[in-house]
């Protein structure tokens, strides 16, 4: 073959190929198959039905109307008649429906094997748990994160029968129970915020993450009609212009964890004006306040100027129905002092047992024998126990965790995870594969609130006694069970009679004990009661000096809790992913603090505190007071799903709890940190 024939052949082959459909077909196929996208899912074409439920995920106990299509929860609407929602829905409650099919859900019981967590049947899992509990009798512990459910009675009674210990996850409810106990009361601390004409929030993020936030927000809304003069004044004192402070009529800059000091400083200023209170132990209270909480000293310690404090005291004294609500800025770690001090201040203002003030709602009657009172269930302090467990100074043959994530959402999170590892046999009852479940030896997934019987009794801060019943609105999406039912069954295997065969019967007994109509509750009606318990507080210990800040750093750390980013129990829900702003992931400080710390916008920094370290980028904003660095909570998850995992860092790692032997409740709302470029 010569050159000419080769070229002729090549040209002929080329021309021949071009007149066949082969190249065009191939081009067409390439364009089709490279763009062969998945079909869109079709939306259902059926009628929507609505059913009422109370959110178990939102600590505010918000009532929501769940939209169901063919028995599948698809959406939600507001529940106008629910006393804790009044038509509003929080971001967390709104996301609860979407969490039903979250990729993080545990789909069946799992047991730890050498190869990791492997599926196990419910009956084998219950037998295994019964065996472990039977063997570890006297050395078992249980942690519950459910602040409003009767399920705690089942758990506490079982722990009682096994001579074990029962702990509640620390939060505002525990602080409230402890504070009341120290002041000689018992029951639920309730704030009649709707009836107040002057609301002073000391640290408490009352419109976002503290107490009955949605109800508080509705009360705020009613008192601030759009375009009209407000009928009540809301003042927020805290280190960060958070979601509550941003709408309040006034923001007073106060360092983190300053609630108790500011309250007592105000009591001092009121005493200067001759105020007195109907309370026991008043002399000791006056003496302590006079000695330790002068406005000048408050200015030095909290950053609240003495003249601001006096002006605030004058406004409180002049208001007809003032109300002071105190707490930690991020919902935990306040200990008992802040609430004790605030009760002292409310007593000085004559705002206890009155409309628009602080009320004490009686405890619901216990229906499971051996469960003890709510106050007794809150009495044990979890953090010191876990610390000892991590250090090998305490033991737990079996550690059971319900509705809580102690390996992530407690101060010194890494040490807490170590404690979970150190326990002989850890059982997680989480609905989701959270940090604690990942470390557990046995995971017995709990059905979600939409899929199980459960109840909500008077969350912390509710204005009256409120009881809602949740019934299963949907079939469990996975092989999950209600934990209370599982433990009733395990108790039977251990020949322990807790008096009930099913949790539903416990709830029916609770409804009867309260005098509520079971059938009406089942239809979504809410039982309420205006009954209150008279409290004459004993203020002798309310102004005793409090423990000092933890850490030696130059900056005060202000963790910020936003419920659209999740909570101590749940990581960023998929439906909330869109609400994350870039600056949400960053630690925030004002320009002066940044200048003093030598850091700039966007710079990567390391915060080191008494508990550990975290890294983040810096965002400069005047929403944070000088000398304070604000860190977001809810990030830095190592478990959960692709929506939350590996996003930002966990600020709980930096915190460390200080012991407070007098109240028996540790404190971690005042932490000092150092900042360095990372």
């Amino acid at each position: 073959m010569n050159r000419r024939t080769f070229l002729s052949f090549a040209a002929g082959a080329g021309a021949g190929l071009m007149i066949t459909p082969i190249p065009w077909k191939l081009t067409d196929d390439i364009s089709i198959w490279t763009q062969n996208w998945k079909w869109n899912p079709k939306v259902p074409k059926r009628n929507v039905f609505f059913a009422e439920m109370a959110s178990k995920l939102d600590p505010a106990g918000t009532g929501v109307r769940v939209a169901l299509v063919d028995g599948v929860p698809v959406g939600l609407a507001s529940s106008q008649d629910h006393p804790l929602s009044g038509g509003g829905v929080s971001a967390l409650a709104a996301a609860e429906v979407g969490l039903l099919m979250s990729p993080a859900r545990v789909r069946q019981p799992l047991v730890r094997t050498e190869a990791g967590l492997a599926p196990i049947s419910w009956s084998d899992a219950e037998a295994l748990l019964a065996e472990k509990l039977g063997r570890a009798e006297g050395d078992v512990a249980m942690i519950s994160g459910d602040d409003t459910g009767t399920a705690n009675e089942v758990f506490a009674a079982l722990m009682h029968r096994l001579s074990g210990s029962f702990y509640m996850m620390p939060g505002e409810a525990q602080s409230a129970h402890k504070a009341l106990e120290k002041l000689g009361g018992e029951g639920h601390l309730a704030y009649d915020i709707e009836g107040a004409d002057y609301v002073l929030l000391l640290g408490a993020d009352a419109l976002e993450s503290s107490g009955t936030a949605v109800r508080n927000a509705r009360a705020f809304s009613q008192s601030h009609p759009s375009g009209q003069p407000a009928t009540a004044k809301y003042v927020y004192a805290g280190p960060v212009l958070n979601n509550t402070a941003v709408v309040c009529d006034q923001w007073i800059q106060a360092r983190p964890g300053a609630a108790a000091s500011v309250a007592l400083g105000l009591a001092h200023a009121l005493m200067e004006r001759g105020a007195t209170a109907r309370a026991n132990g008043l002399d000791a209270f006056r003496r302590d306040v006079a000695a330790n909480y002068s406005p000048a000293r408050i200015e030095r310690e909290t950053g609240v100027r003495a003249d601001t404090l006096r002006k605030l005291a004058a406004e409180l004294a002049a208001a007809k129905r003032p109300l002071v609500i105190a707490g930690s800025e991020f919902g935990q770690g306040a200990g008992a002092r802040a609430l004790m001090a605030a009760l002292g201040l409310n007593a000085m203002l004559g705002r206890i047992n009155v409309a628009g003030g602080v009320k004490i709602v009686p405890e619901a009657p216990a229906v499971v024998q051996g469960a003890g009172s709510a106050a007794s269930r809150y009495s044990a302090d979890l953090v010191p126990f876990l610390k000892k467990l991590a250090e090998g100074k305490a033991s737990a043959g079996v550690l059971m965790v319900y509705d809580a994530n102690p390996a992530y959402a407690l101060p010194q999170a890494e040490l807490m995870a170590q404690a979970v590892r150190r326990a002989g046999f850890t059982v997680s009852f989480s609905s989701f594969m959270d940090e604690t479940a990942e470390l557990a030896d046995l995971v017995l997934p709990s059905s979600m609130a939409l899929e199980r019987y459960d109840d909500v009794y008077t969350p912390y801060g509710a204005g009256q006694a409120v009881y809602s019943l949740n019934r299963p609105l949907a079939r469990p999406a996975f092989d999950t069970r209600a934990t209370a039912d599982v433990l009733l069954s395990v108790a039977r295997r251990l020949d322990i009679d807790l008096g009930y065969l099913a949790f539903k019967d416990v709830l029916r007994a609770k409804a009867e004990a309260l005098g509520a109509d079971w059938k009406a509750l089942g239809r979504g009606a809410v039982w309420t009661s205006a009954a209150t318990t008279e409290l004459v507080p004993d203020l002798s210990a309310a102004a005793a000096p409090a423990p000092r800040a933890q850490g030696e750093g130059l900056l005060a750390l202000a963790p910020v809790a936003k419920h659209n980013l999740g909570s101590a129990k749940v990581a960023l829900p998929p439906l909330c992913a869109a609400t994350v702003r870039g600056s949400d992931l960053m630690v925030q400080m004002n320009a002066k603090t940044a200048r003093q710390s030598g850091v700039a916008e966007g710079q990567a920094v390391r915060l080191s505190g008494p508990g550990g370290e975290m890294t983040a980028r810096v965002h400069i904003t005047e929403k944070v007071m000088t000398g304070v660095v604000a860190a977001p909570l809810g990030f830095g998850h190592t478990a959960w799903d692709e929506y939350s995992r590996g996003l930002g860092d966990n600020a709980y790692k930096v915190l460390a709890a200080a012991d407070d032997p007098e109240t028996g409740l540790s404190v971690w709302s005042d932490t000092r940190v150092n900042i360095a470029t990372a």
């Binding site: 509003g88 929080s90 709408v247 998929p574 909330c576 692709e642």
Partner: protein
């Protein structure tokens, strides 16, 4: 240029910025109601440093943070449902129109071929483009609502004031033997307005004196975004703070004092 169509009903939303805490409940409720898929990639982009995520995020309602250097405010921004919508006049496919009593600007997904001219013309960035097929985590597609169809890759979407809720409210009125064109106040409220914990969002017919929004839009504290472009938005904002109102439009230095006094309101 589209011509102004005056409808007997004018559905309007009044957002009281002084009451918005920025909690995000409205966004979550909107996403669920309108079948907006959760976007993990979007989070990775945010974490992935410096990606321009603003126009890639699928979100009908965005909450902006405003500041004057010391104070802060949050501004939720749905589609403005403009009286003179710039998107409508540029759409080559008539995929978006304003032709129904009430004045809601439609978006008809099967007609849209994704040229994004409407996005370029919208001064509020209220429109978003599906760069990718929507993906739900396994099983979550079973929880789609029947209200809004799922949008494909390659089309533009936007807030519809939960138009399906208007249809349901009209149906309910017909069943009750009432006039569907005379819905009482509160009979039709979009998902965002329904859930707002602080009641910052009020919704109704701004031409109907029996609706709460009628008075609100006439308040001296009421303003609209970029009002001077002549888009005539049906979303109104309120704030007693002058600096917030000033950020609603672009003012020259000599105009600021006058604008800050308020009064820029229309019925």
């Amino acid at each position: 240029m589209s011509t102004f169509q005056d409808f007997p009903i004018r559905w309007g939303m009044v957002i009281d910025i002084d009451k918005c805490t920025g909690c995000g409940a409205c966004v979550v409720a909107c996403n669920k109601e309108n079948n907006i898929a959760p976007q993990e990639n979007q989070l990775q982009r945010i974490a992935g440093k410096g990606f321009p995520t603003r126009f890639k995020k699928i979100e009908w309602l965005t909450i902006y943070e405003l500041t004057d250097g010391s104070d802060t405010a949050y501004l939720p921004r749905p589609c403005m449902q403009c009286g003179m919508p710039s998107c409508v006049s540029v759409c080559p496919a008539i995929a978006t129109d304003k032709n129904e009593n009430g004045g809601i600007v439609s978006q008809i997904y099967p007609r849209c071929f994704g040229c994004r001219y409407c996005m370029a013309s919208c001064p509020y960035h209220a429109r978003v483009f599906n760069w990718d097929q929507p993906v739900w985590p396994e099983g979550m597609e079973k929880q789609l609502t029947p209200h809004t169809s799922v949008r494909s890759r390659g089309v533009v979407e936007k807030c519809s004031f939960c138009h399906h809720r208007l249809m349901y409210a009209k149906d309910a009125a017909r069943v009750a033997g009432e006039d569907p064109e005379k819905l009482p106040d509160g009979a039709y409220v979009p998902a965002c307005g329904e859930v707002c914990p602080t009641g910052a969002i009020t919704f109704g017919d701004v031409k109907n004196p029996e609706h709460a929004v009628y008075e609100l839009v006439r308040s001296p504290y009421t303003f609209r975004l970029l009002e001077r472009l002549g888009t005539d938005p049906q979303v109104y904002y309120m704030s007693k703070r002058a600096w917030v109102r000033l950020q609603g439009d672009n003012y020259l230095a000599n105009e600021e004092a006058q604008a800050g006094e308020g009064g820029a309101h229309h019925g």
